[in-house]
């Protein structure tokens, strides 16, 4: 079973991204859950969401405390307490930043892989708004291959309807532009 924790800000679409990923995995015949740590929702406030994916039926409904993958939709969240907490040894990080992966290793000390992509720039260009969730999904699929790009795009089409095309462009660009740092930390 793969456990993913998403960090974003209200309005960036972290919860939607968690749901799109789970829905894509279910579409591919797997079992999945997506859920959020719901609080009073406010634009700009830190938000956490979670996705579990497994080949077998998932029994647990506890929250996720030791994720295999951490996805961060806003680089400034890295300076906040708790963003790197619980990452499994050798786990993966997918980060929206215009900077270098090396600069964030102090937050994700046990990470085996750190993928970076400038999702904000991609979102601004492709969508005209800094909603980074679909771009970061492209990066996540690139470095983990959890679901196929085709399935992801199909689910985005269903979910976003008239906005689907722009979002699919964002996914594809992020997929191409993601940089990967392998730290040598093992699982």
């Amino acid at each position: 079973m793969l456990e993913i924790r998403w960090h974003g800000r209200g309005g960036q679409g972290a919860v939607t991204a968690a749901e799109i990923l789970a829905t894509s995995a279910i579409k591919e015949g797997k079992y999945a859950q997506a859920f959020a740590a719901f609080g009073p929702e406010r634009r700009g406030a830190p938000v956490q969401a979670f996705t579990r994916i497994s080949d077998k039926e998932i029994l647990t409904r506890c929250q996720i405390y030791e994720p295999d993958i951490i996805v961060v939709l806003d680089k400034n969240l890295c300076t906040m307490e708790g963003v790197g907490d619980g990452l499994k040894d050798g786990g993966a990080v997918v980060l929206n930043t215009d900077g270098k992966a090396e600069d964030y290793l102090y937050v994700f000390k046990k990470a085996g892989k750190v993928a970076t992509v400038d999702a904000t720039e991609i979102a601004l260009k492709e969508l005209g708004t800094p909603i980074t969730n679909t771009a970061i999904l492209g990066a996540l699929v690139r470095v983990t291959g959890i679901v196929s790009l085709e399935t992801l795009e199909e689910i985005i089409k269903q979910r976003f309807r008239q906005h689907a095309e722009k979002n699919i462009s964002a996914v594809r660009r992020a997929f191409q532009e993601t940089a990967l740092l392998e730290t040598g930390e093992r699982r």
Binding site: T23, I26, Q33, F35, F38, C62
Partner: protein
């Protein structure tokens, strides 16, 4: 053909209500229920569901409108949570006593104060004695299936049914749900007007005064009806199973055959409790778990049969009864088992109030304490995860 898709528990309920071809929906939005009625209003607006969608100014009005519509023979639905259910309180008793087959989704959420939108069971437990059938689901799939079954249960028993689903943990979790064809669902619950209903052609008064000479007997009819619903619930589930290949008993058990200690609980924590029981059993601890799907009518005989041979049970309450001899589920279980010649020791727990996550370690603690109770007797109620 069955479609397997990823949706939330709330959407699963909305799909079930749409497929049930309801005639009338009256609801007032409240977190975490809101996305059920949002989706339903979308179905109505798109013309996918031919129903009257009534916007009301409060939950009190929502349930009142449902009672009125149900008296005309319409198939009606409402959904609420927490404060909304509390505001419906007085009308809930009328709905059962007037024998209106309303189906309600109650997305369980804590009661204020302090204000809290997260999950526990205090809303539904406070309506325990309202005369409604109460089902408790554990997943989005069950939410769909139970909602479909509820329309048939309600109409065949002439009692209102409350489908309880844990707020956020089920209502907002996206997970796989298998949806049958709408046509098949409509064959299972064909719309047919109930006889003896109010209409423009056949006017009569309902809800009139029941003086001491009559009240008692009329009340007893509703009490008798919920007792008589036991075989009906089973029968309807058998029919559901033969059509859709899914069966739900009043109680579900896991690993209790050789267990010396078992947890008894309701709602979405069943899965996590099974997961932890599995791990403990690998370490040689004989623990199991019993989950109630039906709370009203309380499955006394089924529970008594299930706990045979078990030395201690731990009852997990996600609600409290301050100042009581025990908490709601504990009290039910204790009463159900009291006059058995050999009954297990009963340890009480409270956990997960106001959305506090019940973690794997919390389950371990509860299994351990229940096993300890088997050896040394039960102690006072344990408030799991409470900070000192």
């Amino acid at each position: 053909m069955v479609r397997r898709i990823g949706i939330s528990g709330n959407y699963a309920v909305a799909y079930a209500v749409k497929m049930a071809d309801v005639d009338m929906i009256a609801a007032y939005p409240i977190t975490p229920q809101t996305t059920i009625v949002e989706k339903l209003s979308e179905f109505v607006a798109n013309g996918e569901l031919d129903a009257s969608y009534m916007n009301v100014e409060s939950e009190h009005s929502a349930i009142s409108a449902c009672v009125g519509a149900s008296l005309t023979g319409a198939r009606v639905f409402t959904a609420t949570s927490s404060q909304g259910l509390a505001l419906m309180h007085e009308i809930l008793f009328m709905a059962s006593a007037l024998r209106t087959p309303i189906v309600m989704a109650n997305v369980n959420r804590a009661l204020s104060a302090p204000l809290n939108i997260w999950n526990d069971h205090s809303d539904a437990m406070a309506q325990r004695d309202a005369g409604w059938i109460q089902l408790w689901v554990r997943s989005a799939q069950e939410a769909f299936d139970a909602t479909v079954e509820s329309f048939k249960i309600a109409e065949e028993t002439r009692l209102p049914v409350m489908v309880n689903m844990d707020g956020f943990i089920v209502s907002h979790m996206y997970e796989p749900v298998e949806l049958p064809d709408e046509e098949e669902i409509r064959k299972f619950i064909p719309s047919r007007p109930l006889e003896n209903r109010v209409s423009t052609k056949r006017a009569h008064a309902v809800g009139v005064v029941g003086p001491p000479e009559y009240y008692y007997e009329m009340k007893y009819q509703a009490i008798d009806a919920i007792e008589e619903s036991r075989p009906k619930i089973k029968e309807i589930d058998n029919d559901f199973n033969s059509r859709f290949g899914k069966s739900y008993s009043e109680i579900d058990t896991y690993g209790i055959e050789e267990a010396d200690a078992a947890l008894i609980l309701m709602g979405s924590i069943f899965g996590s409790a099974k997961e932890v029981a599995n791990a403990l059993r690998r370490d040689g601890k004989n623990v199991g778990v019993i989950s109630l799907r039906v709370f009203r009518p309380f499955p006394v005989q089924e529970l008594r049969r299930a706990i045979e041979g078990i030395r201690a049970v731990g009852v997990v309450d996600r609600a409290t009864s301050p100042g009581g001899s025990g908490n709601p589920l504990y009290n039910e279980v204790a009463t159900a088992l009291y006059d058995m010649p050999e009954r297990p020791v009963i340890q009480g727990f409270v956990a997960g109030l106001g959305g506090r996550d019940i973690r794997e370690d919390d389950f371990r603690l509860m299994y351990d304490a229940t096993q300890k109770a088997a050896r040394e007797g039960a102690g006072r109620c344990i408030y799991v995860g409470l900070r000192e």
